[in-house]
Each structure stands twice: as structure tokens, then as C-alpha cells.
Assembly symmetry: C2
Homo-oligomer: 430 residues x 2
């Protein structure tokens, strides 16, 4: 007997999902046991790029989550409401949920997974991070033998596209953003992408799966790419780095307390690092753990086909589990987190920094800068002075791994030096 | 109630598995529900690097597969016999099997999976390909929405280590092999690795999962890396390629017939390709499909920790499925192939070639070579002549995608030309 599903939302991903389900030839045989019963859309009059009878469509989304025939709800409308309410209603009705909605999961995950547990249903989220890359299943089912040390990823395609072009062309952020918007690689309102909100949602989801605890979104340090200049791209290249917007979540012990160091920011990564060669809209995630070492997953982070592949993977995993199951949730597919992770404040973490300063071009400046860093326990790897412009010169400092609080104190101190015109850029190094 | 397992073989991987199971803190909670009951070893007197009571050990491996208390057999003895017989006996006794044994799976997969299906048990094989990289689960469970077009991988660490060093150092194959043997990166008898047998076993496994059909090992075209010279490495680099030993399995239509093009050989790949930067003992696999596009998985392809991570992942997946299951096999975790794939003969496939010839250094040679290729319908991308050594010169030809049969006929014809001293190297291009 086939399993009936209801799809909420028929945008690009929803259309991709429907196309796969309507054309199972050559794909996994389980697909033939899945039947679309209803599709919830905003407008019934919109012309659709998928071959479904008109009777399948409804603009009454609640009727779908309340339909007793439907076993799985596929939520693809995005945004917070009504997505959250529809998901919760579906769960309350004993339906399994497959969603690509990272925003709702990152904000209401605790509420949603608590309800899912109470109702004995699956909430599947492969499509919420990394598009088609099967990183969620890897963390839930394939890497469970490991103690995870860190999850690090390029998880926002728009910013990676912009930064890749800045590296290739040497252009300015604003110009390339404008061009990316014209080409459809960036939204008209680019805030969610370029200011790191989207990446923060995604690293919250990855961290909760990797470390087995819930994450409060507002505890994630977040910094976007607006302040990355072509000058910094040039310096990074010269120093042997690429600049990428990374989501980073790692286990860290601060003052004897075990917890997570979790953040999103533009990051200098050594060009030999596997993430350094991930360009354009491609996403990639590395997972480091004991005893596995490090594994890397990369692929298309967005797009109709890739995201639909992940959504349908979740659907077939639920269907296969239901067909062989007692009704009890499979522990690896379910989500049983009940506690919030201890997230260390960003200033207590140890990080390596890159700083570009504009200094007066006179003897002793490098010495002064070096002294101030030293005074605040910030060990340095290198100080380079060049590119003299009249009375000013650029000084680029690379620190060792230092406690961020010490570094920030040192920077505040250095800023007040008579020899310093400005602190142009501060970036972190992986 | 905990699930009892028996481990056959306590070499590096078996020891790694036991260590994970004995130290579950910080790993997936399901691990706490798994109990090692017996460990089968060759010698009871060998000192072991793992903390298990002496009473757990036995050198009677059959007693483990016949123990009614044990639900899962973890086969890590390797080789063909007694591994095959013990696996079949365990299956006959209704036990699930987790194995890292690519050799036995590639040769006796049909027999083993037929028995598993008849007995309603799982045979799990994550550790058989790519060490810790979760490529098997990805193909079985995460990419099922796709029609797979191709699976391409660096799946033998020893050859990748040797070729990487040839690229970095410019040394000869024999010298680097000898050094790799001294360092423990290559076996005393390197045949299985350098002649491509190990990679053929692994691509057979990957292809059967990706395309849903059984593969006959002797239908895989196989060529090792012994004939790759430092001169070819140099040429490849100059032309913008890296040389890697690849396992390739792709869907192909030949004379209207759908089938697989499946092979193992040293391959020139463009340096911008994601596999080109995979160096040393690291493994990587790309999967291309519709609608996902291409995803890439990379990580440690061997070693105690990485392989143990994969073995334990399989164990916890079986345990979780059993705990929530009716006893019926989960379709995504099981293996239901019943037919053999149509594998096209290598000479009917379309491939791009690199050829290095030693020719007499006289006018008209390039024209003669070009004419002969053209006569046999082999279109060329480039012919380069240089490195004159007295009366001889090197000529390097890069073809377009051509039917291999035509190419081989052309080469046989060219070999007989008076102007040709020898065909030094023929390599394929990805």
C-alpha cells in the first residue's frame, strides 16, 4: 500500500520534489510506493511546471495537515509562520514531517522536536543545510561512532559566490553584490546571506546534531562579509589564505568547562585546506572527530534539483522505516536532544587573528604595535609593513592562537596609539 | 536490553572497533546498548591492545557464528576463506553481518546477499570502501531520489600516495614504491594495490549500489599504475592534468543498449576537478546524478580509526533498526539486487586518450600520425612534438572523446609506421 504525502508549497524545490515523485523510473524502488495526495499553494490560478490534476491543489494548507489519509507532510513554504504552526499541527495529528526550513528549525527546533518526540513522529531536515549534500544523515546515522571535535562549513552559497569572485576578479564587495543580484545569485534584500543569518541558522542545526544538544541561536557569534575588502583579499592571497564565510562549531574547554565554540564569520583559511578550493555557490562541510579524523562533503548547496534530492531522500527514509517498523521511532533518525549546549562567549575562545592597520610611516611603529600585543598576552606570528601611501603605511599582523578577550583589549589599546591612523580590518583565521 | 555482538578478527580495525564500543562516552547513546560477547582470534596468546576479559576470546570462530545469544557478527578477518563461509553460516543462523571485506563482497556478493534476503538479515558494508567516508550509506539511503549517472573515485590509498609523491617529487614509480613499502604505506606484495585489484573490488561494490544491479568482477576493465612514468607525470602537469588511479562506473548507452561503463585505470584529470587535489592516502568519491548534480565525499580511506568508525556506524544502524523494527528488513538498508548489470566491453566505450609516442625527428611525422588517427575516426584535440633526443622526438597526442576500438586500431596502425620508434604510453583522460 502506498504512503500518501501532502506537499506545502510548490516553489522551485516543491516543483523539483513533485517531478521526482512523478517520474520514479531509474530511481530507488521505494519511490513507487509514495503518492502525492495534496499540494498546498497560495494561488490556485498560477500555472505550474508539473503534471498534477487540478483537484490535488488547495490553498487551504490546514486541510492538508488535518487530512487523516496523509502520513507525511513535506513543508516547503519557508519562513516562520505559518510554517511553524502547520508543522506543529501536523505533528499533533501524528504525521511525520519533512522540511527544508532552516529558519524555523533554528528558532523553534526545541518546540518542534519536543512535540515530535511526544507524538512519536519523525521530523526530517536533510534539505535544511547544504542542499543536496547528505550532511544531516551523515551526522545522524553515519558518524555516530565518533566524538565530534568540530564541524566547519561553507554553508551559504551567495556569500561564497561573492567571495570567490572577489578572489578571482579583485573587485569590491558592493560591485560584485550588485552584479550577483542582477544575475539572481543574491536576493534583492541580501541581509540574510551577507550578514551571516542564514549561515548561523545552519551551523546551529549542524552543531545540535554533531554535539547532541540544543543551540540557542542568539548565542552564536555572527559577523557577515560586508567589511571584507579587495585589499584584504589581496593580502590573504599573498599570505597563503583564501577568505571564506564559515560556520564553525567546535568542542572547547574554557576555564575547565566543556562547551561549544560556535560562530559565523569571514575566515582566512590556508589555501591547502580542503575548504579553500570550494568556489562559487558550492557548499562544503568538514567533520572532524575521534576516531575518524576528518571527512569532507561538498556539492550544490542550493537549487531546485539538489534540494529536492535531499527532501525526497528524507521521504523515502521515513517510508522505509515505517514499512519495516513497529511504530517506534528509530533512534538514529529521530531527535532526542533535551538539553541546551553550553556555548562559550566569543571573547573566551582561542582564535588566530589577521589585522590590517593604517599606521604613520615612521621608525618604531612595528615595535610599538608588537609591544602592545605582547603586553596583553597576544603572541604574534608575523608583522609585515608595506604599501606606503605618503605618510601612511599598511601594517598586517598575524597572531598566534590567542584568547579573543586579550586580543580585543590589545586592539583597543593599539587604536589609541599616536602612530595608528585606524584599524582597517580584523578577521579570524581558521 | 543490550544487543550482543561477536567480532571475528582483532587486527587494527577490530581493535579500533572494540575500543569505541568499550568507551561510549560522548558518542551516540545507542552505543551503550551494544555488548561485545565474543572475539574470535587466531592466537589466544597474543597480547592485545584492548581491555577485554580473557574469557571473551576464542580461536573457534565457528562457535561465535553459531552462538544463539549473538545477534550481530562483525567480520574483520579479511580474505576469502574462511570469511565467506563464516558470513554464510552467520546468515544461515539468522544473524546480521557487518563486514569490511571488499574482496569477499566483490566476489561472493550475489551468494551472500541472496542468503541474507532469504534469511531476513542485514549485511552491512560501509567499511568495505573508502574507510571512514560514509559513501555506502549515501548511495543506499541519501541519494535514492536520483538517477545516478556516474560514480568516480580515488578508492585506493596506496596508489594515490605513490602517484601524489611522483607528482611532488618527480621520482620514478619503482623508487617511490620501494620507499612506500619501507614506510608501511605499501604492502610487501603490492599487487592488489598497484595493479588495481583492490580498486576493482571497490568500484564493483559502489557500482552495484549506485546502479542497483550486481556486477561481475571479471567484466571490469582493470589497469594498474606500474606503467605511469615520471615523464608522463611531467607531461600531464604541463597539459593541466593530474594522474590518479580512478575507479569509474557510469551509465552508458552503446549501440542503443543501456548499460555500464566500468573500469579502473590511471587517469588524467583536469587540475580543477575536485579529485585532482586529493593527495596522499586520502580517498574521495564523486557521485553525479539527476537531479542532484555532483556531490563529493573525501576522507581517510584506511587506518584503524577511520575504518572502525564505519564498522561501528553499521552496527549502530542495525541495532537502531532492530529496536524500532518488526523484524522486516528496511528496504534502504537491505540489498535487493537480483539481476546482473549489462557491462559494456571496454572497447565499445567512448573515452578521451593521452598518447606519448617516440618518433623519428623528421618533417611530416605529425602529419602522418594525424592522418592515421583520422583514417580510424579518431578526432584529435592536440598534437605536440618536443624534447628532441638526437634522432628521436617525443610526440604527445590528446584525442577527443572517441570509441576505444577505433583508437586501438589507430594505435596498432601508427605503431607500424616507419617514422614511429615506439608507443611509450597510452593513458585515458576523465
Amino acid at each position: 500500500m502506498s504512503c500518501k504525502i501532502g506537499i506545502l508549497g510548490l516553489g522551485t524545490v516543491g516543483t523539483g520534489v513533485a517531478k521526482i515523485l512523478l517520474d520514479p523510473e531509474g530511481r530507488h524502488p521505494v519511490l513507487r510506493e509514495i503518492e502525492i495526495k495534496s499540494v498546498g499553494v497560495r494561488s490556485l490560478s498560477t500555472k505550474r511546471d508539473v503534471d498534477l490534476p487540478a483537484s490535488y491543489y488547495t490553498n487551504n494548507l490546514e486541510s492538508i495537515v488535518n487530512d487523516p489519509d496523509i502520513e507525511i507532510i513535506v513543508e516547503l513554504i519557508g519562513g516562520l509562520e505559518p510554517a511553524r504552526s502547520l508543522i506543529l499541527q501536523a505533528i499533533a495529528n501524528g504525521k511525520h514531517v519533512v522540511t527544508a526550513n532552516k529558519a524555523v528549525l533554528a528558532r523553534y527546533g526545541a518546540e518542534i522536536f519536543t512535540a515530535a518526540k511526544a507524538n512519536g513522529v519523525y521530523v526530517m531536515l536533510e534539505a535544511s543545510v547544504g542542499g543536496g549534500i547528505p550532511i544531516i544523515q551523515a551526522l545522524k546515522q553515519a558518524l555516530g561512532a565518533n566524538r565530534i571535535a568540530a564541524v566547519t562549513g561553507i554553508i551559504n552559497g551567495t556569500t561564497n559566490y561573492i567571495l570567490s569572485r572577489m578572489h578571482q576578479e579583485g573587485g569590491a564587495f558592493e560591485d560584485i553584490l550588485a552584479n550577483a543580484q542582477a544575475l539572481g545569485y543574491a536576493e534583492a534584500d541580501p541581509t540574510a546571506d551577507v550578514d551571516g543569518y542564514d549561515a548561523a541558522d545552519k551551523i546551529a542545526i549542524l552543531a545540535s546534531l554533531a554535539f547532541g544538544d540544543r543551540i540557542k541561536l542568539d548565542e552564536i557569534y555572527r559577523e557577515g562579509i560586508r567589511n571584507v575588502t579587495s585589499i584584504d583579499i589581496h593580502w590573504a592571497t599573498e599570505l597563503g589564505f583564501a577568505i571564506k564565510l564559515l560556520g564553525i562549531a567546535r568542542h572547547a574547554v574554557v576555564d575547565g568547562e566543556s562547551g561549544l565554540d560556535i560562530r559565523v564569520h569571514p575566515t582566512l583559511i590556508p589555501i591547502t585546506h580542503p575548504l579553500a578550493s570550494i568556489n562559487g555557490v558550492t557548499n562544503a562541510v568538514t567533520v572532524a572527530g575521534d576516531p575518524i579524523g576528518e571527512v569532507v562533503f561538498s556539492g550544490p548547496g542550493a537549487g531546485s534539483g539538489a534540494t529536492a534530492s535531499a527532501v525526497v531522500a528524507d521521504i523515502i527514509n521515513v517510508v522505509a522505516a515505517l514499512k519495516s517498523g513497529t511504530g517506534k521511532i528509530n533512534q538514529l533518525m529521530g531527535c532526542s536532544h533535551q538539553h541546551y549546549a553550553k556555548v562559550h562567549s566569543v571573547d573566551s575562545n582561542k582564535t588566530q587573528f589577521y589585522v590590517r592597520l593604517i599606521a604613520r610611516d615612521r621608525p618604531g611603529v612595528i615595535g610599538e604595535i608588537g609591544m602592545r600585543f605582547g603586553k596583553h598576552l597576544v603572541n604574534l606570528e608575523s608583522i609585515i609593513q608595506k604599501n606606503s601611501h605618503g605618510e601612511f603605511a599598511e601594517v598586517v599582523v598575524v597572531t598566534k592562537q590567542v584568547v579573543e578577550r586579550n586580543f580585543q583589549t590589545a586592539i583597543a589599546d593599539i587604536k589609541n596609539l599616536d602612530a595608528i591612523e585606524s584599524i582597517a580590518t580584523v578577521l579570524r583565521i581558521l
